[in-house]
């Protein structure tokens, strides 16, 4: 029986996890935003360091290795040091020449705070998370929009469901209703942006309606996690059925090699793949399958992951790229041109952990059916 594929997933997971640790060792407190073969390691990126924390905790649980947990806490402590008095965090890398509070970045860091609190129940994480969530709550308007200036488009992009999600994580810890209300305002706004063909308007970085698979996945995932936290699949995840089906079919028809971007009619754009988006969408498919029990979705998710790991180097003479994931493939694609972002590695770890869990549950089902 050929279990090479499961071994392959585990090998790539291990290499990617080690690369994440390398990015932290070079990060002076956080995780470096990216590595470039031309410029080396970048400055640390608070946003992605924050959402790397839940991944580190999961890796620690998977490998039964407390060093990952300690590393997660170290990053958490660094983030506490640089959190502003109003609860927000600055956008961009750290230190930033033009520091400015960022809605999206604050949201991502809250994921780390929530994960740390759920991991060891230390109240400092809860307090920091609450302050950040409160700042987000105060800055959203009655229509569910955050003020312009935080992003490139004219209106709050739909991928800010990825801010609404961590707000709900904080709400699930401290039960502060205003946070939930604010979060749901934005989620309701995005639900109304879902089109009949499954595309969601304003889900990209720009106003032209196109979106990288990276922000497509952000948009979908924010709604999926809202469904989980509020236990309301009907409201938040079921409306994504058409969206998921389109992604499922495209992943299969292109054997896991999605276009980097899509327009509002699902026309693929670019002769390169956004590898981050690939594995993020694999996560979305795997999550959707939890409430739909259809291994065909897992089939598609595994092809998205398989494509990325087929590109990942494990034994390059340039050790800094072993276990790294390029932003684009070919690497000169427009998404994170010539760079290996830390969030691509994070999402690859997450996607492999999820798919291994799903495959193992299916294997255990086979065995227990046999025993019964």
């Amino acid at each position: 029986m050929n279990s090479k594929i499961l071994d392959s997933y585990k090998n790539h997971l291990e290499a990617t996890a080690k690369w994440c640790i390398k990015s932290i060792k070079n990060g002076r407190g956080g995780s470096c935003a990216h590595f470039s073969t031309l410029l080396g390691w970048s400055k640390p990126y608070p946003e992605t360091s924050g959402y790397l924390i839940p991944t580190l905790i999961k890796l620690g649980n998977f490998y039964r290795n407390k060093n990952y947990h300690q590393t997660a806490e170290n990053i958490g402590n660094w983030l506490l040091e640089i959190q502003k008095d109003d609860g927000s965090w600055n956008g961009g890398l750290h230190p930033n020449k033009n520091p400015k509070s960022s809605v999206f970045n604050t949201g991502q860091i809250l994921k780390g705070m929530a994960a740390l609190y759920n991991h060891n129940k230390d109240s400092k994480w809860e307090l920091s998370g609450f302050k950040g969530a409160e700042w987000l709550t105060k800055s959203i308007n009655s229509r569910g929009l955050w003020p312009a200036g935080d992003y490139r488009t004219k209106v709050t992009p739909s991928y800010y469901t990825h801010v609404a999600w961590p707000m709900l994580e904080i709400w699930s810890i401290n039960d502060e209703k205003s946070i939930k209300t604010a979060s749901e305002k934005h989620l309701n706004l995005v639900l109304n942006r879902i089109k009949k063909n499954g595309a969601i308007s304003n889900w990209g970085f720009d106003d032209d309606g196109t979106a990288f698979t990276h922000t497509i996945a952000y948009t979908i995932r924010g709604l999926q996690e809202a469904a989980r936290i509020t236990k309301n699949y009907e409201k938040y995840e079921k409306p994504l059925l058409k969206t998921i089906d389109v992604i499922y079919n495209k992943s299969e028809l292109f054997s896991g090699k999605l276009h980097a971007k899509y327009d509002q009619n699902w026309k693929g754009i670019g002769n390169y793949t956004c590898l981050t988006g690939n594995v993020q969408l694999a996560i979305c498919l795997t999550l959707f399958e939890k409430n739909n029990n259809d291994l065909r979705l897992i089939n598609s998710a595994s092809k998205l992951i398989d494509y990325v790991i087929s590109i990942q180097k494990l034994k390059s003479p340039l050790s800094a790229i072993n276990g790294a994931v390029p932003g684009s493939w070919p690497i000169w694609g427009k998404y994170m041109f010539l760079r290996y972002p830390n969030w691509a590695a994070k999402y690859l770890c997450d996607s492999i952990l999820m798919i291994l869990d799903r495959l193992n549950s299916e294997l255990e089902k086979n065995t227990s059916n046999n025993l019964s």
């Binding site: 029986m1 050929n2 054997s255 398989d306």
Partner: protein
């Protein structure tokens, strides 16, 4: 009846068996149309969708299918032995039977459509070669039959019997009309397959193919005129999610499942 047949490659044993069976039951095979696996358009399509990596993988599969079809003792080979079929090349088989053999760049080539109308084809039997489009379906007035290796309408698309097994659907082959959708045409008849002695995914696939071949033969044995072939609309109006080629991970899950089922049956 005057029958034309398609195939995805020259050494397709299932296609040879179908052609041979239909000839033996008194039908006239007027064209055998084989899509070249090495056509520029096919290569370009693979590169566009899967990259060079996909091309390498397709070439490997094609080579292995040639090797396996010569030495594989599965249900398809057993059927060939039983029916006295020794040819492993459609071209050679056609040459021996004086049947028109046409090599196509794509299944929807105008040369294929022209061959169908010039030979007054009553029925086109689809045995591989790609997705049929409107013009070729219309050329035979919709009388295109397929042996689908899975139950319809539930399991549409690729690796059908594999998915039927994994998703706990009926394990059967279905003979149906091909329309413009993917396995959405009217069903003619479903043929269950026996899985008692199945030990591997390849064996499962072979049993489904044999069931389809035997099923199609049975249907056409009793028919003198194409108007006697009736399909039925499914009572189920929902369009089931299309199935695709199984990934290595899912194929592994299926292999384990078959292995566990085998232990149950011993």
């Amino acid at each position: 009846m005057r029958i034309s047949l398609t195939a995805g490659y020259d050494n397709s044993l299932p296609a040879i068996l179908i052609a041979n069976n239909l000839l033996n039951i008194g039908h006239e095979i007027v064209n055998v149309m084989v899509v070249s696996p090495f056509s520029c358009s096919r290569v370009k399509k693979i590169i566009n969708s899967q990259g060079l990596h996909g091309l390498k993988s397709s070439a490997k599969k094609l080579f292995l299918s040639k090797v396996k079809s010569l030495s594989d003792e599965n249900a398809i080979e057993q059927l060939a032995m039983k029916n006295g079929v020794t040819d492993r090349s459609l071209k050679k088989w056609c040459l021996a039977k004086n049947i028109n053999y046409i090599k196509l760049k794509t299944i929807n080539d105008t040369s294929a459509i022209r061959a169908l109308s010039e030979t007054d084809t009553d029925i086109l039997i689809y045995a591989g070669g790609g997705i049929l489009k409107g013009p070729i379906i219309d050329a035979v007035k919709g009388f295109v039959l397929n042996m689908h290796s899975g139950p319809l309408p539930e399991i549409r698309g690729m690796n059908a019997i594999e998915w039927a097994t994994l998703l706990k659907e009926r394990q059967s082959a279905t003979v149906h009309f091909i329309d413009r959708g993917i396995d959405t045409g009217k069903t003619i008849e479903e043929f269950p397959i026996s899985t008692e002695k199945i030990e591997s995914v390849r064996q499962l696939r072979a049993e489904a193919i044999v069931s389809g071949i035997n099923g199609l033969t049975k249907i056409l044995k009793s028919v003198k005129n194409k108007s006697e072939i009736e399909g039925r609309e499914s009572q189920i109006t929902k369009l089931y999610r299309q199935c695709y080629v199984m990934s290595p991970a899912i194929k592994y899950i299926l292999e384990k499942k078959i292995s566990e089922l085998r232990k149950d049956n011993i």
